[in-house]
Amino acid sequence: MATIPVETGFIIAGLLFLLGLIGVLVRRNIIYILLAIEIMLNAAGLAFVVAGAHWEQPDGQVMYFFVLTMAAAEVAVGLSLVLQMYHKFNTLDANLINRMRG
């Protein structure tokens, strides 16, 4: 199996990460923001896998499992919060949750 060069892998991961970041920054709907964060986490996971593959170690993939698990936990908490937010604020617009400031 021909290995993909580590640079290529990192460029893809970096692009993915950047996409996710842009998503977080430009989207106002909180669900999309969570989605974009997932993309960023997975980009990082990809980077681990690439790096692990480069060094021919399992560590990268192990890390990816951790990332997956934690992402799932985060999303679980995140979505429940979104639910509550919808109850209280009647909106999913992230710009509108700013009762506290200053």
Binding site: A43, A44, V67, E74, Q84, M85, A94, R99, M100
Partner: protein, 485 residues
């Protein structure tokens, strides 16, 4: 795995086991006091079992964690902190018509995360600990979900934190990609060598790791979440965020970067210096006229993390001692302050508006005095632990000739004094109001919800604070002994 190894890891095992028992306990019989007892028991158990690793500190069991003297110090500190938070939570949750028991479970889980963090020697445990801590904190921050501010706090914590975690992860991946190791010892080997142009990937990765850490510590420019989360989260949770979460992450920072010794090398020295100065200034200036005590403490914590960075930047053994002592003092002080705040909160709102503290010392002498002492400690006035802590930091800075930072620290101490004094002034403002004030509305007179145990806690904290301030010799010697100095 031998039985010795099990004993060595016993604190973590006790903590995890206690969490499970707590969960099961709730499933079987939901009771506030029972859960509290389980939690306290678990924490005490974990604390007591620290003696096993203490007597064989350098045993190497797994590449992920290491229970050396340094870790043990922080573990003990964290367990005691959690104990205090649990006690505070009891008084805080007692009168509330919500599910109360899960709070303790989440607290224990957060502790588990912290424990892994402070003993971490591997990126995996680093990440896991951080995330375990973070996720439970999201939930804790939004625990009183009937209140919009709590939800808001949870979200405002979650989204930036998750973003910064992605940065952290990506940075780890970069470092890993370049060095091929995720173990601290390996990383240290890399970092202490000479750096070449080609090492840029790893160095940039380390920079990104810093973002994750900086976020947790609420260093400038990652500090924005702090005030909102402090304000929205329930008071005991805020106390936890302010102490355990920050302390654990700082301990980790110190372990990683001291081992690698790169904070004293370009470019990280510059980055840390800039961040430290910015944190001190912004934190203090943001707090200056803040009228909400929780937000005020949030901003103050930003500044305090900046102070700590001065010691951190000084490097060497003294820096480690300084940071440990500082965190010890800071934990006690913050817990005391939030303890008072918690005790004064009722089921409608957290008692955080400064105006409400007017004349506190006259109707609640104990609470007022404790809060005043805590403020003096934060301000670094003698007789309190905060003074010696600041002394240590300044000394570390002076010894390493970090004159710019020392000067900034001094200037900021004066600025900081102003808002701590505002709290103290409020506490000691005599009760009769001036006409303008009575027009603005009678301030809320708190009916403290402090339990007896909460009161005892406050007294213990205050006594500890003053003891540390007046006769810190034994504690310093003990810290040095732990570090094997």
């Amino acid at each position: 795995m031998t039985s010795a190894d099990v004993l060595h890891l016993l604190p973590l095992i006790v903590l995890a086991g206690g969490t499970i028992i707590g969960m099961l306990g709730i499933a079987v019989y939901r009771d506030h006091i029972l859960t509290l007892v389980i939690t306290l028991g678990t924490l005490i158990g974990a604390f007591v079992t620290l003696r096993f690793p203490l007597h064989s500190p350098n045993e190497y069991i797994t590449p992920l964690v290491q229970f050396d003297g340094y870790a043990i110090f922080f573990l003990g500190l964290l367990f005691l902190t959690a104990l205090a938070v649990a006690v505070m939570s009891y008084g805080y949750m007692r009168g509330r018509a919500v599910v109360r028991e899960e709070l303790y479970i989440l607290l224990l889980i957060a502790m588990l995360g912290c424990s892994v963090l402070v003993s971490s020697t591997h990126f995996a445990s680093f990440f896991l600990g951080l995330e375990v801590l973070s996720v439970s904190l999201y939930a804790l921050a939004a625990y009183l979900r009937s209140q919009p501010t709590d939800i808001e706090a949870g979200l405002k914590y979650l989204i930036p934190a998750a973003t910064s975690s992605s940065f952290l992860l990506f940075g780890m991946a970069m470092v890993y990609a370049h060095t091929g190791t995720m173990e601290l010892s390996g990383l240290a080997q890399f970092a202490t060598g000479t750096w070449h142009k080609s090492d840029l990937l790893a160095l940039a990765g380390m920079g990104m790791i810093l973002i994750g850490i900086g976020f947790k510590l609420a260093l400038v420019p990652f500090h924005f979440w702090a005030a909102d989360v402090y304000e929205g989260a329930p008071a005991p949770v805020t106390a936890l965020i302010a102490t355990a979460s920050k302390g654990a992450v700082f301990a980790l920072l110190l372990r990683y970067f001291s081992a690698m010794g790169i904070q004293v090398r370009e470019p990280f020295f510059v980055i840390f210096t800039v961040v430290a100065i910015a944190s001190m200034f912004l934190g203090n200036y943001l707090a200056l006229f803040q009228s909400n005590l929780k937000r005020l403490l949030a901003y103050s914590s930003i500044a305090h993390m900046g102070y700590l960075l001065v010691a951190f930047l000084a490097g060497g053994r003294l820096a480690v001692t300084a940071v440990m002592f500082y965190l010890l003092a800071y934990f006690i002080t913050t817990l005391g302050a939030f303890g008072v705040l918690t005790a004064l909160s009722n089921k409608d709102t957290d008692f955080s508006h400064l105006a409400g503290y007017r004349g506190l010392v006259f109707h609640h002498p104990l609470l007022g005095t404790v809060l005043a002492v805590m403020m003096f400690s934060l301000a670094g006035i003698p007789l309190t632990a905060g003074f010696l802590a600041k002394f240590y930091v300044l000394f570390a800075g002076v010894r390493s000739a970090l004159w710019l930072l020392v000067l900034v620290l001094i200037v900021n101490s004066v600025v900081g004094l102003f808002y701590y004094l505002r709290v103290i002034v409020a506490i000691y403002q005599p009760v009769p109001l001036t006409p303008e004030e009575s027009r603005a509305g009678q301030p809320y007179r708190p009916a403290p919800s402090a339990s007896l145990i909460g009161g005892v806690l406050l007294v213990v904290l205050t006594v500890g604070l003053i003891w540390l301030g007046v006769y810190p010799g034994p504690v310093i010697r003990w810290i040095e002994a732990l570090l094997g100095l």
